[in-house]
């Protein structure tokens, strides 16, 4: 078990190996399809992505008195090409589910970043690790807006590491 608090540096990335279980604590950003399109198009220089963690999630609405609804990962492959310019701007870790393209993996290694998976469909469980939520960009996107989440012991696994290894069956 490895504990990590963002922002993440290259030394931390190097220590991670496919299959490692990681508990994240601190601030992570959310973005999925539409937010990625805008972040890439807008450049969004007001958003500091140095050492940042991006979690691919679109939560269910919070009930009154709760912080957030179900918050499990969405499939990552849809963000493959859009992830590259964001890694070039400093993103060090992406959390989602499922395998991704070879082109993504190559760009990830080049940029010294890492791809993590959280358990898909475990939306209720993962939301219990989120301690606060605020919208920081593209509020009109609703569930797809960029949120800053404060998480505590958020569980995920290293899926692709910078050493070229993968957690997935069938990947070389």
């Amino acid at each position: 078990m490895i504990r990590i608090t963002p922002p993440i540096d290259n030394a931390t990335i190097k220590q991670l190996h496919a299959g490692d279980k990681v508990l994240l604590s601190g601030t992570i950003l959310t973005a999925r399809d539409q937010a990625h399109i805008r972040l890439v198009k807008d450049q969004a220089t007001d958003l500091d992505l140095k050492g940042a963690v991006i979690y691919y999630v679109g939560p269910t609405p919070a009930r009154p008195g709760e912080i957030i609804g179900a918050s499990g990962p969405t499939s990552s492959y849809r963000m493959d090409s859009l992830s590259v310019p964001l890694m070039e701007r400093g993103v060090k870790m992406m959390i989602g589910k499922g395998n991704r393209s070879k082109a993504f993996r190559n760009a990830m290694i080049e940029n010294n970043a890492v791809y993590m998976i959280a358990t898909g469909g475990a939306g209720a469980l993962l939301s219990s690790k989120i301690k606060s939520v605020r919208v920081i960009k593209y509020e009109d996107l609703g569930t797809e807006a960029v949120h800053a989440l404060e998480v505590e012991d958020f569980p995920c696994f290293v899926a692709y590491d910078v050493h070229g290894k993968s957690i997935f069956k069938g990947d070389v």
């Binding site: 679109g58 609804g69 998976i117 569930t143 957690i167 997935f168 069956k169």
Partner: protein
């Protein structure tokens, strides 16, 4: 002629959608527990632990199991001797609207393929209506997420591809999908009919009871054979490798053209959310 009120149908749709999004079916939970006992690696065990803990938490807290609360898919079997005192599609969509609002479910439907504007109430539902004998209205109600739906496909094979062609297509599709559709999955296969009929057969197949058996002995055997061959692929829970990739295979068939062998594969994630109600 018997009359069913549209209001009652709306309430049944609403209540069912909320219930299925909070509570996983017991037969599914049993299969997931069995799958966990078969895993040998800590990683795949840990993922199945998360899935089992998640469903217990969702049930206790009356909270959605997954953030993708899906598109509502409703199969209606409408008896010829019963009359609904209102518009059927409107009554269903009213139920969807209420469920996704009052149940705090995510509204995931966009109006247009290109402007992607959210309809903000998760309508319209996808509704399939069939007229049948009798004086009842049966609703098969599902919330279908996109992760597994996006890994589904329809392929027009040729008759000479035969059963081996179908098997290869299924195994290739599931292997290529890897962890994306949230395995362990349930696989619905529609063989026959035509282009659109095969897709309908596959969708209905994933709505079958997990523990039913196919009344056609050859198809029953094929379901079992494919289940074990899919699991031999070793994709495993969330794609990380392991003993269980698939919990059940269901195959539905229909007569077809002499020149055709349409095959549809509809994949259902481990959060299989559907139920039946009869009014």
């Amino acid at each position: 002629m018997r009359t069913v009120s549209a209001e009652k149908l709306t309430k049944a749709v609403k209540d069912s959608l909320i219930k299925i999004n909070y509570e996983l079916d017991n037969s599914l939970v049993t299969l997931l527990k069995k799958a966990k006992s078969k895993e040998t690696s800590n990683l795949s065990k840990s993922i199945l632990d998360d899935i089992l803990e998640n469903q217990a938490l969702a049930r206790d807290r009356k909270a959605p199991l997954c953030q993708d609360t899906g598109v509502a898919v409703i199969f209606v079997e409408h008896g010829l001797d019963v009359r609904l005192d209102g518009n059927l599609d409107d009554a269903i969509n009213a139920g969807v609207r209420l469920a996704y609002d009052e149940g705090y479910l995510r509204k995931s439907v966009v109006q247009h393929p290109f402007n992607r504007e959210n309809t903000k109430d998760n309508t319209p539902a996808i509704i399939h209506t069939k007229l049948v004998d009798g004086d009842q209205i049966k609703l098969k109600i599902a919330s279908k997420g996109a992760g597994s739906e996006n890994m589904s496909k329809v392929v027009m094979l040729t008759p000479s591809d035969g059963i081996e062609g179908v098997k290869k297509l299924v195994l290739d599709t599931i292997f290529d999908a890897g962890g994306k559709p949230c395995p362990p999955i349930i696989v619905g296969i529609g063989v026959g009919g035509n282009f659109e009929k095969s897709a309908m057969l596959a969708k209905e197949a994933i709505l079958r009871d997990l523990d039913d058996s196919n009344p056609d002995p050859s198809l029953n055997a094929l379901e079992k054979e494919l289940l074990s061959e899919i699991n031999a692929l070793g994709v495993g829970p969330m794609g990380v490798g392991g003993e269980t990739t698939c919990l059940a295979v269901k195959i539905n068939t229909f007569p077809m053209h002499i020149a055709s062998l349409p095959v549809a594969i509809n994949i259902q994630c481990h959060s299989a959310r559907h139920m039946e109600v009869t009014l």
